[in-house]
């Protein structure tokens, strides 16, 4: 058989160049990363690690149930932190949401500022905020609540503003035509349209915040993380196992309940 298959059509040369540059760039990036990353392999694959693993893993999987009630106390504190933080954020995010919604706030300057504040806020990890508060006002759950509240405003504000931007503006127009004032329009025209979604997002955020609150104690901002640090420092791995088990169970249950409620609301 002797058939000439037509050659692949040449893509335009700019595209080829771009692809070559990207491929080389990626290759260099990877080689450099893996060549310069400093992992002490010798120590990691040492006998000590093996002994460690041998000692630790079985204990992790046989949690210390005598420790359970203490863990539960701290897990409850974690839930309180998450709830107080999410609640505050759910309220605080409302003004920010309206500020960032372009159909309500038609001033482009304030609008952009609102969006920027929310974006910046979301980039700031809650654990970093918590650390700053711990230093500023001392350790304790209050620092955790503040961190959760402030960080959550970023995401909730953005989601709220998207909800507000998608409302039916005809209703607002009709009320304006009826001679309603701004506050009346707000309470009768806008709020009823956005409340279910706002609530659903707030619950979703609570779900995330429960998970986030479990780590706060690691840096002294309250909750179950406090115990985790102590137990792992003391190498009480059966206690660590108990803590992990409680986190897994609580987080799973709350995720389940939360998504069930959200399904009913919207």
């Amino acid at each position: 058989m002797n058939i000439n298959i037509p050659p692949k059509p040449q893509k335009n040369s700019l595209k080829i160049l771009r692809n070559i540059v990207i491929s080389i760039g990626l290759a260099v990036l990877y080689v450099w990363t893996f060549a310069t990353i400093e992992v002490p392999w010798g120590r990691i694959f040492s006998e000590r690690t093996l002994i460690n693993i041998d000692r630790v893993i079985p204990k992790l999987f046989s949690p210390d149930f005598t420790f359970a009630s203490k863990v539960m106390d701290y897990m409850m504190e974690t839930l309180f932190i998450a709830f107080a933080g999410s609640f505050m954020a759910a309220i605080l995010a409302v003004p920010f949401g309206f500020l960032a919604a372009s159909n309500i706030n038609s001033n482009p300057v304030f609008n952009t500022i609102g969006k920027w504040i929310l974006n910046a806020d979301r980039t700031f990890p809650e654990i970093l905020l918590a650390l700053i508060f711990v230093v500023a006002i001392g350790p304790g759950a209050f620092a955790g609540v503040l961190a959760i509240a402030i960080h959550s405003v970023g995401m909730l504000g953005k989601l709220y503003s998207e909800v507000i931007e998608s409302i039916d503006m005809n209703v607002v127009e009709a009320m304006e035509a009826n001679g309603a004032n701004k506050i009346q329009i707000f309470f009768y025209g806008i709020i009823p349209q956005v409340i279910p979604e706002f609530m659903s997002y707030a619950i979703y955020r609570f779900e995330i915040d429960v998970r986030a609150s479990t780590i706060l104690g690691i840096i002294g901002a309250g909750g179950i993380g406090t115990l985790l640090v102590i137990s792992s420092r003391n190498r009480n791995w059966d206690e660590v196992g108990m803590i992990l088990l409680v986190i897994i169970v609580f987080v799973s249950i709350i995720d389940y309940i939360s998504s069930a409620i959200r399904k009913r609301i919207v």
Binding site: I44, I127, I218, I247, I248
Partner: protein
């Protein structure tokens, strides 16, 4: 002359039915009560926002300025380490997630037990935050970037495998049948009919997980798992606030730039 609108004399007293109103009020009271209880239990009531609170926070904030730019070179070095951790972890998670996302797709795996088992395994993996994993791994392997990378891998594997298995579940099954009908084996079916359909989303989700890993790796150092968090916590404990603000500003800018680039790439992909 207008006659009375409502001859029977019964005037509605409310705009919504009594039951709805009652339900709403009950829910509101419960939520509010739980909030008050929570803030009491966490010592975080609104009463705490007093003069002293604002003075303390303000005192700290003013000490953050101006950033100490002489410290920037150290920041860069540690930040690079952080990014390398995120890159390595994302890459490994990206590779490892392939078998998991296939096994967690109900259109690929017919065995209900295996499918549910993998799904449950991934769900559990996602419930544990990476910082908690990092604490455990630091206990196992000692301080350093290795436990940090391991924590990132496990956490992002859970997210990635979930997202990609959902993509796999939504693909067009017809080409799979065609490849099978022309005599392809399982691997060929996956490579020729599944991979082309999920590749763009795979790249997009991997980039997304890279963003998440960058953010997460910034704080891993708080527990001794490598990266910039280590010096951040250290400088805070030394009360060198101007170094702290240098770290925060540089990290913030880098994270925003990475997010921006990644978002742009992802939008082009899908």
């Amino acid at each position: 002359m207008s006659k009375p609108l409502n001859p029977t004399g019964r005037v509605p007293t409310s705009l919504v039915s009594g039951r709805t109103k009652l339900k709403m009020n009950v829910i509101m009271v419960i939520v509010l009560a739980f909030y008050i209880f929570s803030s009491y239990m966490t010592n975080a009531s609104v009463l705490r926002f007093d003069q002293a609170f604002f003075t303390n926070v303000w005192n700290m904030v003013i000490q953050l300025f101006p950033p100490n730019w002489a410290y920037a070179s150290i920041v860069w070095e540690k930040l690079l380490e952080t990014l390398k951790m995120a890159l390595v972890a994302t890459t490994i998670a990206g590779i490892l997630c392939i078998p998991f996302s296939l096994l967690a797709a109900n259109n690929i795996v017919q065995n209900k037990f295996l499918y549910n088992f993998i799904k449950m395994f991934l769900n559990i993996m996602r419930t544990i935050p990476e910082l908690i994993l990092a604490v455990v791994f630091v206990g196992l392997f000692g301080i350093g970037i290795f436990p940090g990378i391991l924590a990132l891998i496990i956490f992002s594997l859970g997210i990635l495998a979930k997202l990609i298995s959902e993509t796999v579940e939504s693909i067009d099954m017809n080409p799979l049948e065609a490849i099978r009908a022309s005599g392809g084996n399982t691997i060929q079916v996956i490579w020729y009919a599944v991979v082309p359909q999920v590749l763009p989303q795979f790249v997009s989700f991997t980039l997304y997980v890279f963003e998440i890993n960058v953010r997460a790796s910034v704080v891993l150092g708080f527990v001794g798992a490598g990266g910039i968090g280590l010096i951040l916590r250290q400088q805070l404990n030394f009360l060198s606030y101007q170094n702290v603000s240098t770290i925060i500003v540089i990290t913030f800018v880098v994270v925003v730039v990475i997010d921006y680039i990644s978002n742009k790439l992802r939008r082009e992909l899908v």
